[in-house]
């Protein structure tokens, strides 16, 4: 039989399937677990209050001494830390699901903040940062004079 026939085991086909499986692996790693990419740690919730930016992170098992928080300039926030493994001497490990290790997360804040007045609180494994807005970024009410 002449003409091109679909060859499932041709080298090109192999390369294509290989590429596809590579791509799947890549997407599985970055977005396969639920709807969210788990490439960054810790995940953050950030909201804007009237006079401050609030940043919240779930960091169970961490002490303040395991955590370093920096504000560089007026808009760069760095969270750095290490979750240390504290498991005792054991005979058998039934489950190992919790992760340990170092992490760094750097983000640029959308609003300039006053680095000198940042407050941090770590309670029950929840880190809450209050970053007061820089004077220049605070809304000002403008009085309209009646002419």
């Amino acid at each position: 039989m002449f003409g091109t026939r679909w060859q499932p085991f041709s080298p090109v086909w192999n390369q294509l399937t290989q590429l596809q499986s590579e791509m799947n692996r890549l997407f599985d790693r970055w977005g396969g677990d639920g709807n969210r990419a788990q490439a960054v740690f810790p995940p953050l919730n950030i909201w804007e209050a009237d006079d401050a930016l609030m940043v919240e992170a779930e960091l169970p098992g961490l002490d303040m001494k395991d955590l370093e928080i920096y504000v560089t300039g007026t808009d760069q926030l760095t969270l750095k830390g290490e979750r240390k493994e504290t498991l005792p001497q054991k005979n058998a490990q039934h489950r190992q699901e919790r992760g340990f290790g170092k992490f760094v997360r750097v983000l640029t804040l959308p609003i300039p903040v006053d680095a000198n007045k940042v407050e941090a609180k770590l309670e029950n494994g929840i880190l809450t940062l209050k970053l007061p807005k820089h004077e220049a970024a605070k809304p000002r009410k403008i009085a309209v004079k009646a002419s």
Binding site: E58, P60, P88, N91, G101, I126
Partner: protein
């Protein structure tokens, strides 16, 4: 940007978990379980759960863990939402014979540690070999 680490966060619950009346997401806490000669130790990540809000029960060989999270939604303009907030729930079938009266638990920095001591009979004993 972020360094690649082995750190992981909580994952949403499978549908077998009893639902709460007020709805909202439920989470399966990540756990480590280790066994020593004398006891089983369960470590569970429960970020946002105060020690008094942990409900821990051991009944007929089943350890049920329920951590209530106080709602802490801030008011204002949401800029970034990378995780949801909700209660934690998980149950384990414990096969080892556990002395239920001696179960102890502590909660610190959002990590719950449960000590499940084995019954005396279930603990390994060193057999002394006498020289004849």
């Amino acid at each position: 940007m972020a360094e690649k680490t082995e750190l992981a966060t909580k994952s949403p619950a499978v549908p077998t978990v009893p639902e709460t009346t007020h709805g909202g997401p439920h989470f399966v806490p990540r756990v480590d379980i280790v066994e020593t000669d004398k006891q089983l130790i369960v470590y569970a990540d429960l970020p946002g759960v105060a020690p008094q809000d942990v409900d821990l029960r051991y009944e007929r060989g089943e350890l049920v863990l329920h951590g209530k999270v106080k709602p802490r939604t801030g008011t204002g303009n949401r800029l970034l939402e990378e995780y949801d907030i909700g209660d934690f729930y998980r149950a384990f079938q414990v096969h080892e014979t556990i002395d239920a009266s001696k179960i102890e638990a502590e909660c610190k920095n959002g990590v719950l540690t449960v000590y499940l001591p084995k019954e005396e009979a279930a603990q390994p004993k060193k057999v002394m070999v006498k020289a004849s």
